[in-house]
């Protein structure tokens, strides 16, 4: 504050307060003594008094209109002045709750999906076992009724046991010589394929080696235990064959090549005329047609309850234009599903639902966080 008549701002405040009667008695006495001695102080006081009088001369203005309030005015103004942050807080809260619910639903759906996948996998395994069993029976049908009559009881027990135990057909191929007549020993008389097998192989290696030829014809990535069913071409007319193993003729049933015995003590299915030489690492199986005078065992009667389905299977198998197609088609379908699951893929519906869940969770999360930020900003702004 600039000096008026050489009066300091403090003296100006004292003079102003003196005019308003806001000084204490001591301050009034001290100021009055200075006013008597200081002419400038007296002039400044007179000027300030005139200004104050001019200001106080201003009349009280009358309001141009009444400012009384109406209910509508209060309500509209209240609504207009209502803070804007509560809706954002509510939106953030709702979005958070929805996010939690969706997250729980997502997790629940994920667990259910996993359980469903396990159940479907189990169902597919059962289906495959049934398919293998059927193929074994059909394979038997191609070997002819005569051979089935000879080994009916054994063939009835072997696949069933294998299916019950959940073993795949590769183990069936490595079982006893009687079991070896089943799927993996499907004959290839016309193609003349030579099967090589290590006599001391373990189960898996033996199965893989014996499946080499059939895998060449099967789609890539096909499961080994599915392959025999895919490539097995039933022979319309069952023909007894004789197999040459390391120079030793072995009698086969219906062209089926007997598997190499796992154990040397295990007897061959059919006795050979020449004693087998010492086991060599590799044996060569050469199917050769048996002479017509080869005795066929017929001493074992075929049970009636087994003969009927086998006959039906045989009739179906004898029509080559019908049977192989559905078998391959069904196997391909199962194989595709298996390959799809092996690749880690999910069925399209499961994948899309999972994606939708993730999208909804992201949107709700962004909504919750954004609303919370706006809420905090508006709350602080509103004070």
């Amino acid at each position: 504050m600039m000096k008026m008549y050489g009066i300091s701002p403090h003296d100006q405040e004292m003079l102003s307060a003196y005019l308003d009667g806001q000084l204490s008695s001591k301050e009034i006495a001290r100021l009055q003594k200075r006013l008597q001695d200081d002419r400038k102080m007296q002039i400044a006081l007179d000027e300030l008094r005139s200004t104050r009088a001019a200001l106080r001369s201003l009349p009280m203005l009358r309001a141009p209109r009444n400012f009384t309030l109406t209910p509508q005015m209060v309500g509209s103004q209240t609504a207009a002045r209502r803070p804007a942050y509560p809706p954002f807080g509510f939106a953030s809260l709702v979005a958070t709750l929805l996010l939690v619910l969706v997250f729980i639903a997502d997790r629940t759906s994920f667990v259910n999906t996993a359980q469903t996948a396990v159940l479907e996998s189990a169902a597919q395994s059962t289906q495959m076992e049934e398919l293998v069993e059927t193929m074994v029976v059909e394979g038997l049908a191609t070997e002819g009724i005569t051979a089935l009559q000879a080994e009916a009881m054994q063939l009835k027990e072997a696949p069933m046991a294998a299916a019950d135990q959940g073993e795949d057909s590769s183990r069936m191929a490595e079982g006893t010589p009687e079991e070896g007549v089943s799927a993996l020993t499907m004959p290839y008389p016309e193609s003349g394929i030579e099967l090589f097998a290590e006599p001391v192989m373990d189960d898996t290696e033996a199965a893989a080696e014996s499946l080499t030829a059939s895998e060449m014809q099967s789609p890539a990535g096909a499961s080994p235990w599915i392959t025999p069913t895919l490539t097995a071409t039933p022979t319309p007319t069952p023909t007894p064959t004789k197999w040459l193993i390391n120079g030793t003729e072995v009698l086969g049933v219906g062209g089926g090549a007997p598997d190499t015995p796992r154990d040397a003590s295990t007897p061959a299915p059919e006795p050979s005329e020449t004693p087998s030489p010492a086991p060599s690492p590799t044996c060569t199986l050469e199917p050769t047609p048996l002479p017509t005078d080869t005795p066929v065992p017929t001493d074992t009667p075929l049970p009636t309850d087994t003969a009927a389905p086998v006959a039906e299977a045989l009739q179906m198998q004898l029509s080559p234009s019908e049977t192989p197609a559905p078998l391959v088609s069904q196997a391909d379908q199962v194989q595709d599903e298996q390959a799809g699951q092996d690749d880690g893929g999910q069925p399209p519906t499961r994948l899309s639902s999972r994606t939708i869940f993730l999208a909804v969770e992201i949107v709700l999360g962004l909504l919750a966080v954004g609303s919370a930020f706006i809420f905090v900003y508006l709350y602080r702004k509103a004070g």
């Binding site: 100006q12 308003d20 806001q22 005139s50 001019a54 201003l58 141009p64 309030l69």
Partner: protein, 199 residues
């Protein structure tokens, strides 16, 4: 009129009770707004907003001078209005001559409808004071209007502006000195006013 009872009724939501308070204080509120803003329409709007805000925040009144509480609300409304005007400048209060220059002579404030000479002089003095008030900083303006126009004491004025007593004392003194410098240009007018007022 029992002011405390009306305030209590208004705090319970009785709009009629609050309107009685409005009628009792609307001239003072409007005068405060007009002296701060210097424009009747804007002052009326500020006064209306102040009453609405007072009704909506009536529960925040904790006793003391109800007039000071009301004038504090209208003073804040005037501050808001002046801030809005700073963001959106409008035409100056001073009239312009044909050349577009501001007319500095107080003669433009003469109301042709005034009849007697003293009324003219008083009217000119009021306009001169308002002109000088408009030149003050708004915080000084509010204090000097509260004390010299509304007739408040320092304590009540301190309550109205929400500042300490020393701030009121200092601001009032500085505002008076600046108004004194401004009114010196209206020397004859001020002298006549002093004479008419008997001082």
């Amino acid at each position: 009129m029992d002011e405390i009872l009306l305030i209590q009724e208004a705090q319970k939501g009785d709009l009629d009770a609050f309107n009685r308070l409005v009628l009792a204080y609307q001239d003072q509120v409007y005068s405060q707004a007009y002296r701060i803003i210097g424009e009747s329409e804007a002052a009326a709007d500020a006064a209306q907003e102040a009453f609405i805000s007072a009704y909506n925040h009536l529960n925040s009144y904790r006793g003391g001078s109800f007039r000071a509480w009301l004038l504090r609300i209208v003073t804040n409304s005037c501050y808001d209005e002046l801030r809005r005007r700073q963001r959106r400048p409008t035409s100056p209060l001073e009239p312009l001559d044909d050349a577009g220059e501001e007319i500095e002579s107080p003669g433009w404030m003469v109301d042709p409808s005034d009849g007697p000479e003293d009324q003219i002089e008083r009217a000119e003095l009021r306009r001169a004071i308002q002109h000088c008030l408009d030149g003050l900083a708004v915080e000084f303006r509010a204090v000097v209007v509260l004390v010299d126009v509304q007739g408040m004491d320092y304590v009540e004025a301190a309550q109205a502006i929400g500042k300490p007593l020393g701030t009121v004392k200092s601001r009032l003194a500085r505002a008076r000195v600046r108004l004194q410098d401004c009114l010196r240009g209206f020397g004859e007018l001020l002298t006549a006013t002093m004479r008419l007022s008997g001082e």
